[in-house]
């Protein structure tokens, strides 16, 4: 064995990496546990990406995910079948249509932008708030009445319990009622179903969160403002909301560590942006 010189700090550092040297603690994660996440389909891509990265650092933590609309998130937490309820609004407070979930803590995870979207064949590029209210309430039923072709409007709505629906109703329609039936009315159960329906149904209009917008559909301007991250950040586009991970009380253990990971600067400024969400810090005032 070489004779090492104690006074050289770098040597001590090197020695500590050598065989047989005891160390204070292992940096490889010893975190264990199982995390069940259910709720918002809008937040699901984000959840799965964060889970994939988190598990590489914490291989003994098992994460199971599912999605069936925001309201099922805090419901699953209250029922005790999920540790995290992903929801597109703060479910610890009352919102139109839903009472608060007592005892649950809303942990913010991302900013989601919502867009009114139409089938590619629709000629209209921009709608006013009033026009949107009239279309989604069933008062206006033909595209020609809002500057488009003479064709009946097919309204595609998310089912009751959808966080995207709650946010769109609150922010794009300023709380006005949504139609719930009719010949040219459809209801879908997830963001994925909305995407498919809008892409394949001529003259349709619906709403979806920005990551799901594709070049096979038209993202409408609202009051002449396009649904972009830039317009959210400059304050001109108002149809956005914060996504939350609801927990029963303050999160603990693996659940706490996972939420901290998704809230970390590394994730917020990295993978989160790649998936077209906006970091929480960007909209904090």
């Amino acid at each position: 064995m070489k004779k090492w010189i104690k006074s050289v700090s770098a040597i001590a550092l090197a020695v500590s990496l050598m065989a047989g040297v005891t160390s204070a603690a292992s940096a490889a994660s010893t975190l264990k546990g199982k995390i069940v996440i259910n709720g918002s389909s809008a937040l699901l891509p984000l959840t799965l990406q964060a889970a994939s990265e988190f598990k590489k650092q914490n291989p003994k933590v098992k994460i199971s995910a599912s999605a069936a609309g925001s309201i099922t998130g805090p419901q699953s937490v209250r029922k005790g079948i999920a540790d995290i309820g992903a929801v597109d609004w703060d479910a610890s407070k009352d919102v139109p249509g839903f009472k608060k979930f007592d005892g649950q803590v809303a942990n913010p995870v991302a900013v989601t932008v919502f867009a009114a979207v139409a089938n590619k064949n629709v000629k209209v590029d921009s709608l006013t708030t009033k026009q949107l209210q009239d279309i989604f309430s069933g008062k206006v039923t033909n595209w020609k009445d809002v500057g488009g072709d003479d064709a009946e409007i097919v309204v595609v709505n998310r089912k009751f319990g959808s966080g995207t629906r709650v946010n769109f109703q609150m922010k794009a329609l300023e709380g006005k009622e949504l139609m719930s039936k009719g010949d040219n009315y459809k209801e879908v159960g997830s963001s994925g179903d909305m995407k498919t329906t809008i892409e394949t149904t001529p003259n349709s209009i619906g709403y979806i969160d920005l990551p799901y917008v594709t070049d096979k559909m038209k993202a409408m301007k609202i009051n002449n403002v396009a649904p972009t991250e830039k317009n959210v950040l400059n304050g001109s586009y108002k149809v956005w909301g914060i996504g939350y991970f609801m927990t029963k009380g303050e999160p603990t253990g693996a659940t706490k560590a996972f939420i901290e990971y998704i809230q970390s600067s590394k994730f917020q400024n990295g993978s989160l942006k790649k998936l077209k969400f906006i970091p929480l810090s960007a909209v904090k005032k």
């Binding site: 010189i5 040297v21 292992s26 940096a27 264990k32 799965l48 069936a68 319990g161 810090s281």
Partner: protein
């Protein structure tokens, strides 16, 4: 000969502390005439440099000019005062004085500055310290470092055998740096508020990334210039370079449903697999760009009725929730993906170098050790490394590098040759080592968020 001398002077050069050391030195008087100039080799910022040295009263003194030249300092002499300046630090020395002045502060020396054959000699450590550097000994070799190491670096990836890309994340975005694996010298590559992680091409000359609109860019690591090669606005969760660094493969859409190919020269995108199966991830591509390995995550199935929210009429069936490994051969007409695994274990660090076999870390449960496995087209798995709990695997240069927990104090780093299957332990390291990077010929480790590379059997820090 040089090596022997270098070792012999280690204690003499480094072992003597400067300020406040008990001095056994005799006055300079005429002793200088008896001093003999010898040559010793020190590593200066990762490069071996010959120095003129003299031994005086058991201590080795080095040529001020040789050191200044080696570290790139400015040296000037005025009114008998030699001034050495580097990186904003200034050291002033006078011949025959038992002190130096570093940035205005006087530092005592064990031996006075000597002149031999017209050159001035001084103890190494106080001069280097005065210039803001450090002196250390690795494997008997004196190392002088005046490189300011990068702080807070994470996510190391080799870009060729001699450099690593690392990232520093702050509230104002992420900055990527190219770090020299030998010296720790670094240079900024990219600062961005909306760029995905840099994916280094196999040739180590460029890296690809996407922005928050989905556009793809290629960064030339030599010129640091980024070029937009595609404005396609689809989300691209993963980018993978072809083996010849000429094409980029990617998963497309927020659910990673499609495997597509991008030709950087033309910007043309070609869909290779669009089977409507969502949540693909961990894409690997064969060297010829025709065969693929990837994972598919199946979600839990939810049954709910929100008619009466208060009833919490919701249930989740996680029996089908699992991650499985698939392969796909795009050369087969009407070919369909083949499911290679059916087990319910967590599968991490999935990678393939041929698009046919998949290497991965299998985590059966929180209480059982993780193993490195391989699965082939026959859907049979075999253990590649299962001696102890696997923390991480990295596939590089035809080898699988395994970081595994040996005991509470130590982790082991193992190299498995994929062609022969032979396994050897490369290093035993502290259990505080949490991650590794590998190039196929070089291994870097992350310990307490600091990056080290192995140099002659010793781990040298290249970030702090």
């Amino acid at each position: 000969m040089k090596r022997a001398l270098a070792v012999s002077v280690v204690a003499a050069v480094v072992g003597t502390s400067a300020a406040g050391a008990a001095s056994a030195a005799t006055p300079a008087k005429s002793a200088a005439s008896a001093l003999q100039v010898q040559e010793a080799t020190f590593a200066v910022n990762g490069t071996a440099v010959p120095f003129r040295v003299v031994r005086s009263n058991g201590e080795t003194l080095v040529s001020i000019r040789d050191l200044g030249t080696a570290v790139g300092a400015q040296i000037s002499v005025h009114n008998g005062v030699t001034t050495v300046e580097l990186n904003g630090h200034k050291v002033e020395v006078k011949l025959n004085a038992k002190q130096l002045v570093a940035d205005g502060t006087t530092v005592s020396l064990a031996q006075a500055v000597r002149s031999v054959n017209g050159a001035s000699y001084i103890a190494l450590r106080p001069l280097v310290a005065g210039l803001g550097g450090t002196v250390a000994v690795y494997g008997g070799q004196i190392n002088v470092s005046t490189v300011k190491l990068l702080e807070g670096a994470e996510n190391p990836r080799f870009a060729g055998p001699s450099s690593l890309i690392v990232s520093v994340t702050g509230d104002d975005g992420r900055t990527d740096y190219l770090v020299d694996a030998k010296s720790g010298k670094y240079e900024q590559l990219l600062h961005s508020t909306n760029a995905s992680d840099l994916v280094v091409a196999p040739n180590g000359a460029k890296a690809a990334y996407t922005d928050s609109d989905g556009a793809v860019y290629v960064l030339d690591l030599a010129t640091k210039v980024s070029s937009k090669i595609s404005s396609d606005n689809n989300i691209k969760p993963e980018l993978v370079w072809s083996a010849d660094s000429s094409s980029i493969f990617f998963l497309q859409g927020d659910k990673g449903s499609v495997i597509a190919k991008l030709d950087p020269a033309s910007g043309t995108i070609t869909k290779l697999l669009d089977d409507k199966v969502d949540y693909k991830a961990n894409l690997s591509v064969s060297p010829d760009g025709t065969k693929f390995i990837y994972t598919v995550t199946t979600l839990g199935k939810v049954t709910s009725d929100a008619t009466n929210v208060d009833e919490d009429n919701v249930s989740i069936d996680f029996s089908a929730n699992q991650q499985q490994i698939f392969s796909f051969d795009s050369t087969v007409a009407e070919g369909k993906p083949v499911q290679l695994t059916t087990s319910t274990d967590d599968k991490l660090f999935v990678a393939s170098d041929d698009g046919v076999k998949a290497y991965y870390v299998s985590v059966p449960s929180e209480d059982q050790p993780a193993k490195a496995l391989v699965v082939g087209q026959d859907q049979k798995t075999s253990t590649v490394y299962g001696d102890s709990d696997v923390i991480e695997t990295v596939l590089a240069g035809g080898k699988l590098y395994v970081l595994a927990s040996v005991n509470d104090a130590n982790n082991g780093i193992y190299e498995i040759d994929l062609a022969s299957g032979s396994k050897k332990q490369l290093y035993t390291v502290s259990a505080e080592v949490s991650s590794i990077a590998a190039s196929g010929s070089q291994v870097a480790i992350v310990k307490n968020d600091q990056l080290f590379v192995n140099d002659g059997g010793v781990w040298k820090p290249i970030t702090k």
